[in-house]
Every structure is written in structure tokens, then in C-alpha cells.
Amino acid sequence: MPKKVENVGCPYCGVCCDDLVVTVSDDGKKILEVENACAIGNQIFHHATGGERIRLPRLRQPDGSYKDISYDEAVDYAAKVLHNAKKPLIYGFGSTNCEGMAAAAKVAEKAGAVLDNCASICHGSSFLAIFDNGYPSCTLGETKNRADVIVYWGANPAHAHPRHMSRYSIFPRGFFTGKGHKSRKIIVIDPRHTDTAQVADIYLQVKQGYDYDLFNAFRTAARGHEIPKEVAGIKREQILEVVEIMKKARFGTIFYGMGLCHSDGRNHNVDIAISLTRDLNDFTKWTIMAMRGHYNITGPGAVWSWQYGYPYCLDLTKKDIAYMNPGETSSVDLAMRDEVDAFFNVGTDAGAHFPIEAVKHLKKHPWITVDPNICMASEISDLHIPVGIVGVEVPGIVYRMDNVPIQYRKVIDPPEGVISDEELFERIHKRLCELEAEEAAKGQVKAVPEGIRAESEP
């Protein structure tokens, strides 16, 4: 009899749907059906048992091909790379659990590495804004139960967070919002008329890159001052109309996305969005929330904050004190400035998602990928270490986009022999301690990692 696993968390986006029902085959080896998931979440579960999985670490050979090696060998190689580099960079963690992130931090602290996560190229700007201006936010259930005005600004949940609108914001009926969609005003602000804009009551086509100016106009108008006839492509009347709606809301939430974080001004677009939210709280209740991308990309920000006080871009190279300054200690800047000499890509795909120039810089040095799947990063690595898929094969706590921890379950076993991120990092940590002890015993002789890197200088 196939077995149904209920209340399964989805390891795709920051919406962290935890209502999936997954049907597993008799022998517990095959995922047969996934209910309640969006198209993307669905794909993740089916992909886990659908095709061939990598079951052993693979080490790059002189001819450029990969050779399977044991986990012990991989752990040894990885530990030596970390140990010998002057400034290794450990990056990723969009798709692992918090237990894995805590273990990786222990490794980074021991190795004197820079520890960074995907927020660095995603919602890192939000952190910068939060540092400067705070974060008047709420949990998603608050929005569902109370909100009568929703703003999506530079965010396109129809594509990036497929169930966000139905679970939390536009459509659900909550405690004080019994009429669901009918009782809510939806405002979408985006340079593109996105699929999200299709469901908006009001759509403002902001000129790309001028969000800050538009926020500035909103704030100025909210305080009763004159504004120009047109700002960022939006007519004054429309700005005033939206300002009135916002001021008269009972409870509003601004959801914002990469449209703010990826364009000119980055953090200040978010910063001024927060200022607007603060202003609106003088009139009524408003909250703001970052549309965090991966299902647990909020996780490293949480874990590393309680461990070190910084959510990302942690420079642990001094080994006795942590430092953070995005723009310097952020992965892409470190790459472009040739500041690091080894790269660990963990649970993400820097090969596909970094600008190719940054990839080329990083590739001058050893590159190790830890990921369940074949991806661009794994295909240019010196070492690829497969691990179990969190949320499918490995349980653990993940943090939803509103910082609510969700306990994820295991649906099936990982392929035989494949270990979890947490176990991998615990083993690397142990090996690092041994290397340190060996070095202390021998004096200052550096061990050279075994295995040969392909000659691949671009």
C-alpha cells in the first residue's frame, strides 16, 4: 500500500507551504503523488526520485572528467582546502536546514572562512535597510486575518511565490477578513504589467529604477505636502489616490521583492519603503515584508544572528571575532576583488546565479559544491559532494519569509549512503580539528590537498 505523508513542508520558496500531502510507494523509494503543491514544489518532490541521483562525491581529474570518491576522501579534501586557504568563502544555504547551517558555521569559525548566504545576491539589501531603519513587520497569518490593503511592490508572487496570494494575502478568508478577496484592495507597483498585476485593483507602472523617488513622493504626499505632477512615470492624482487608500486602511501589508533589491539604490529602496511603513503607522496599522526567495533562506540569517549577531557576509577569518560589511565581505564583491582563495558552494548554484564574471574570478581557486543535484556549480567544481534533499529526505527546522520557524518532515530516505549537510559539516569540522592538531604537532608544515585540479584558467 502506498503511504500518504501529510503536513509536509515544501522545499521551494519562502512561502513554506506546510500542507502538502505526499504519496510514497510501497517500498518507500518512490514519490508517486504530491498534493497541494504549486508547479515548482511539485517538481522538486518528483525530481528527488524521478531520475538518476548522484550517490558519491566526485573529484575532478586532470582530463576534466569526474571520478567517484568516498565520503571520507571528500571530507579530507574539503577540510584541507579550507585549512590551507588564506581566506576561503563558504556560500549558499538557500536549500538546507538550520541544523546544517549551524554545523557549517562551526566549520567556518574553525577554518577562518567568510560565511555568506544567498541573501547576499537576493534580499541582502533588505538586511542593510533593516540595519538602518528597522522592520515593522508581522507574521503572514496577521495579514491573512486582518489586512484590507495589500501592496506588492517590485514583487511578482504569481511567478516567484505561486501560493503566496492564495494562502496569505489576497484570497484567503481570515478572522476579520471573512469576505476574502472582496474585502481587500490590491495595489501592484512594478515596471512590468506582471501576472500579479492582473489581479490588482490598482496597478502603477513605475519607471524602472525610480522606486525610491516614488516612495519619496508617497511620503511627501502622506505628510500633506505638494508633489510634482508626475513622479517615476506615475501621475500625481494616482499617487494621491493610493496614499489615501493607505492612510484609510485598517491594516495593510507591503510585500516587496527583487524589484527593489536588484535595482539602483538597492537597500535604500527598501529603506524608504520601511520609512513609509513607519509613517503610515501614525495613521493606522501597516506592516512590511520581504518576499524571501528560497524556503529556508531566512534560516541562515536567523541562525547566524543568534550565533554571531550578523545575518550574512560574516568574515570569520580573524577566528576570534566576527566582522560584517556587505560591499566588502559579500560573496560577489569578494570574488570580483580577488579577495578569496577557495570557494564552497553549499545548497545553491552560484554557477548559474552569479554574474559570469564573478564565477570566472572564483574559479581561479579550488571550488567545492555541496548539493543533492547536478547544477552549473557542480559541473565546474573540483569536488562535488552530494547530500540528502532537505524537506524530502532530511527533516529539520526552516524559517519562513516572516521568520516563523516551520518544522519540516522527512518523506523518504535519501539514496543509500548519501549523508545530510549537517553530518557532512560535522565530519569536515572533525577533520579540520585533526589537521590543526597535526600541524601544531609538526610545526608550520602545510598539507597539500590530494586530488588534482583541472587546468581551467579562463
Binding site: 586557504a85 588564506k86 581566506k87 577554518a111 577562518g112 542593510l128 540595519f131 538602518d132 525610480y210 525610491y212 523617488d213 519619496n216 513622493a217 508617497f218 511620503r219 511627501t220 502622506a222 505628510r223 505636502h225 505638494e226 508633489i227 510634482p228 513622479v231 539602483d264 539604490g265 535604500h268 529603506d271 524608504i272 520609512s275 509613517d279 577569518t317 580573524k318 577566528k319 560584517m324 560589511n325 556587505p326 560591499g327 566588502e328 576583488r337 580577488d338 579577495e339 578569496v340 582563495d341
Partner: protein, 266 residues
């Protein structure tokens, strides 16, 4: 005043962090002791002498110590960080954080500098003959008490986020400024002698900005209130006077609301 000359003869592979290169740390030390001070290349801590040849001894106090850096310091960070007195001359370029958290003394960079120079500055002078990167005279992350005092002078262009959270002091830019000047400012003076791209004075509470050229995209939160004649950096000129950021909170003083000012030269 005694002079210590550091010549970068053995450049690092990665970037070098030289927060110990300050008159405060060199004062009272012989050349050999200075060469033994720590610098960091990633996690590797080494003596300064591994990368630099050191000539000359430090003065008795920081104020009596001058440091001259020769060689290509493009990849040396944090020179003059937290210095309180004395002088540093960098013959060419330097990297990030030059004069960061500086309290006194003078730094003269004859080339370009990278980002975060003069951040958290409280006093002293930072002179850059070339260009500067982002976050010149800005505040460190999360700190609302930005630049408090001192003078920064950059002859060339600067990157984005100049003087974020500025509370005091003066920044004079000879060339153009990229977006965000004095964002969240609550005091201080920024002079841009070239053009400014946009987002000048956003979320600004108090303080003054002068732009001699044009502001490509002025913010809607600033409103023109008249024309004034003012003396700026030794010369007198006529300016259009704008107040703002009208979207931001503003304190009142003696019953009048205090705004931030932008002056653009007519």
C-alpha cells in the same frame, strides 16, 4: 615630527588589512618594532615587515609621527583606521576604509581610494587627489550616528552613498557624485562641485548639500524656497535653495521647523 616610510616591496596575494598602520600604533616604536606589527592577509596574520620595508622610527607620540607609504597600495585596506593624530601620506592608490573611524590627524592619498573611506569619521582630515568609491564618509552598517566631524576632500568623482547618516563635518567632492548623497543626514555639509545623479538628500532630516552642477533626478520631497548668496569652500556664489526632505520627520527649533537644505548653483 619623525617620518616612517613604508615601501610595499612584497605585495600580498589577497588583500592586506593594515589597521595597525597608524601614527598611534607607530608612535614610540623603532623601525624594527613597527615591522613586527601585525597585518592580516585573510586569516594569515603576519608581521608588517613581510610585505613592507620599514625605514625610520616613530615619533614619541602619534602627533609627532608621519607615515609615508610607497609602492602600490591599491590592495591595502584600513590604513589610518581610528587614528587620532599625526600624518599619513599615501603616494599612490589605496583600498578600503582609509581613514575609517578617524578622530584626528591628516591623511593624504595621492591616488584613488576604494569604498568605505572615512566612514564613522569624527575628526581630522582625509584628502584624496583621485576618486573615491562608495560610502565615502558614510556611517558603518546600522549606525545612525554617522560622520560627526572632520573634513574629507576628494578631488575626483565619488561612488554612491556619500555621507549616509552624516551628523557633522564637511565633505567636498571636486567631481561628480553617484546616487545617494547624505541619505538620512542629520547635519554636516556635503559639497559636490560636479554633478549629482540623483537621490540627493533622501530621508534627510537636517544638514546642507551644495551641488555646483546639476542634479539629474531631483527628489520630489524637496521644494524650492528662493535664491541665496552663500560662501562655500572659500568662494561666494548664488544658489537656488531647496528644503526637504518633506517626506521625512523634522525637528522644531524655537517654534520653527528645521529642514535639510540643498543649494544648487545658479
Amino acid at each position: 615630527m619623525k617620518t616612517v616610510t613604508l615601501t610595499l616591496t612584497n605585495p600580498s596575494e589577497l588583500l592586506l588589512e593594515g589597521q595597525n598602520i597608524t601614527p598611534d600604533n607607530f608612535a614610540g616604536k623603532k623601525a624594527a618594532e613597527i615591522a613586527a606589527l601585525d597585518v592580516w592577509e585573510g586569516k594569515q596574520k603576519s608581521p608588517l615587515g613581510k610585505y613592507f620595508t620599514v625605514e625610520g622610527d616613530g615619533g614619541a607620540t602619534a602627533a609627532e609621527t608621519k607615515i609615508v607609504l610607497r609602492g602600490d597600495c591599491t590592495r591595502v585596506k584600513r590604513i589610518g583606521q581610528q587614528m587620532t593624530a599625526g600624518e599619513i601620506v599615501i603616494d599612490g592608490n589605496a583600498d578600503m576604509y582609509i581613514g575609517g573611524w578617524m578622530k584626528g590627524g591628516k591623511i593624504h592619498v595621492k591616488g584613488n581610494v576604494d569604498s568605505f573611506c572615512g566612514i564613522g569619521m569624527e575628526g581630522g582630515e582625509l584628502i584624496v587627489d583621485g576618486n573615491a568609491g562608495s560610502h565615502l564618509g558614510s556611517s558603518p552598517r546600522g549606525e545612525w550616528r554617522g560622520m560627526k566631524g572632520g573634513l574629507i576632500r576628494v578631488a575626483g568623482d565619488v561612488g554612491n552613498d556619500t555621507a549616509t547618516f552624516i551628523n557633522g563635518g564637511t565633505i567636498v567632492i571636486g567631481g561628480d557624485a553617484d546616487i545617494h548623497v547624505s541619505t538620512h543626514g542629520e547635519g554636516g555639509i556635503v559639497v559636490v562641485k560636479g554633478n549629482a545623479k540623483g537621490r540627493v538628500g533622501g530621508q534627510m532630516v537636517k544638514g546642507d548639500i551644495y551641488v555646483y552642477g546639476t542634479i539629474e533626478n531631483p527628489l520630489p520631497g524637496f521644494s524650492m524656497v528662493g535664491e541665496v548668496e552663500q560662501e562655500v569652500d572659500g568662494e561666494t556664489a548664488r544658489f537656488a535653495h531647496y528644503i526637504g526632505d518633506l517626506g521625512e520627520r523634522h525637528p522644531t527649533s524655537k517654534g520653527k521647523t528645521v529642514y535639510a537644505n540643498i543649494y544648487t548653483r545658479i
